[in-house]
Amino acid sequence: MLWKLILFSAALTTVIYVTNPPPYVVHIIINIFWFAYVTSSWNIVGGFAGQVSLGHPVFIGLGAYTSTLLFMNYGLSPWLGLFCGMAAALAAAALIGVPCFRFGIRGPYFAIGTLAYTMVMEQLAMAFREVTGGGFGITLRRIDSLLYFQSADPKVYLPIILSFWIVLIYIMHRLQKFRYRLLAIRENEDAAAALGVNVFRVKLYALLISAAFSAVGGTFYAQYYRYIDPATVFGPDLALEIMLIAIFGGIYDLFGPTIGSGILIPISECLRILLGGRYFGSYLIIYGIILILCVLRLPEGITAYLSKKR
């Protein structure tokens, strides 16, 4: 598996470097894999464990803001700041995860509870503007050095996000027993408990791992776009987008979210290019129609349908 992933990524990167397509195409591909990474990370707790979370922007945003603030205020390279962001996200995950899982908050209660968590963080980031820049957001200083996780050549970001993605997928692939436990919990929590699965611990680990990965995704976002603001990284819109892509691709499969990302993002980009200039909003209507049609035909997501065909 690992070699397949590495081979694929290496091939993709080589193709990009050799053919040198317009930067816009590279941008789309990086976007696809960033969402693939973040949604796959969400899927650990949202899909495999069945604990739908709308709180992942908290982790992504903490990752982005922590590494960025350390970089802007103390000159700390975001490669190191990345780990600080992970730590912050882990703390945040524990803060919501321990009580929720301890007190049996699940299903829609967990989803809406985590949504409230996201809204709280967004408001905090807006209100404490001396620290976070508030609504102004933060524009990252331009250093253009790989040591500081920046590059003038956008192509460089592709192998970086691909590496993150490989690490995530591979780790989850290897943690087979862990995945089975998550699956058991998703199917029937009480039965799993009766079979000796430590539900609380497993769920918590899932959330913690997912949060850590998400935070790294946040740091990458900050370094790539070079501009972050609370509405984007801490926003409920992001939570919905992540969940949407993961569900569309299929939450049961390791590669489900990746495929979902690979299909939905190009579709929305193409629609916007074709129609966005003239008939404002109509491209989104078509996007919505596509979503609905897909759900009607393939309610379990694309990968479930594909695997049935096989």
Binding site: V52, I96, P99, C100, F103, G104, I105, P108, Y109, I112, G113, L115, A116, Y117, M119, V120, Q123, L124, M126, A127, P236, L240, M243, L244, I247, F248, I251, Y279, F280, G281, S282, L284, I285, Y287, G288, I289, I290, L291, I292, C294, V295, L296, P299, E300
Partner: protein
């Protein structure tokens, strides 16, 4: 420090705001709370209702409170049809399919409204809009909000009684509890589902009429409504109308009072934090079914 009168006014505002949150979320409580259909397009149905009230007022001069029956019927039909063609086919599927479906619907509604009616902010003006009833001590009671709260309270009670006492209500509850058993008892489960959903959307239409003199109308006005409605419904306990009423009042009052005494930018954050804390204590909501 703030004078007592100001604080009291803040509390009054908070309670009224809570009433509005309750009103907003009633339809969702029936759809999500009782029949467990995850409807992320809830706020956008409200938006459609708001636009209906606005156009009926602007084009035909119809007072929104009087156009309520029209809007209720209109939205019932919309809900009915949507359930038939879009929701019903995916009910046997994993829940998350409903998320995809309703988010898709939400996108279509929002951008459909944008294309049809443009992004202008519109509002119903005149009449009792902005009028307040003066009370003793200089306190003020905004009339449209009082009416909204009364309608919200009234509908909550009505639906509580409806679900508990009437035959149709009991059938709906039966279907919600155990579809298979209900169908074995001779209930046309599909039809009941559809009626329930239609009723929920119709309730949302009623809410929209009462809210139309309060909020401005805009294609994207529904987004915060969806979030708030879900929080109120969860806080009260899924399907529990009286719980939702209490939950809504709590959130509204917290928002208004904390905003007043401390910082309006963080008022919602604190209210949501307290919501999360309440969830810890009561994982199934204030009054779980």
């Amino acid at each position: 420090m703030l004078e007592l009168g100001v604080v009291l006014q803040g509390i009054i505002n908070g309670i009224l705001l809570g009433g509005i949150f309750v009103l907003m979320s009633i339809g969702l409580n029936l759809i999500f709370g009782v029949s467990r259909v995850i409807n992320f397009a809830h706020g956008d149905f409200l938006m459609l209702g708001l636009y209906s009230a606005y156009w009926l007022f602007t084009l035909y001069g119809l007072n929104p409170y009087l156009s309520a029956p029209l809007i209720i019927v209109l939205l019932f039909c919309i809900g009915f049809i949507i359930h038939w063609f879009l929701i019903n086919p995916i009910l046997e599927r994993p829940e998350l399919a409903q998320v995809l479906m309703t988010v898709g619907l939400s996108i279509i509604f929002q951008n459909g409204a944008l294309v049809a009616w443009s992004a202008d902010y519109r509002a119903i003006i005149g009449g009792i809009v902005g009028v307040s009833i003066p009370l003793i001590g200089g306190l003020l009671l905004p009339l449209t909000r009082v009416i909204a709260m009364i309608i919200g309270f009234g509908s909550s009670i009505l639906f509580y009684i409806f679900l508990k006492k009437t035959r149709l209500g009991m059938i709906i509850r039966a279907v919600a509890q155990d579809r298979v058993a209900a169908s074995l008892m001779g209930v046309d489960v599909e039809k009941i589902d559809r009626i329930c959903f239609g009723l929920g959307i119709a309730l949302t239409g009623l809410a929209a009429t009462a809210l139309s003199p309060i909020y401005s109308v805009h294609p994207f006005v529904g987004i915060p409504f969806t979030i708030l409605s879900f929080i109120v419904v969860i806080l009260g306990g899924l399907g529990n109308f009286l719980g939702a009423f209490l939950g809504g009042i709590i959130i509204g009052t917290l928002n208004a009072v904390i905003g007043l005494m401390w910082n309006p930018q963080l008022a919602m954050a604190v209210a949501f934090l307290i919501f999360i804390l309440i969830l810890f204590v009561k994982p199934r909501g204030l009054f779980a079914r």
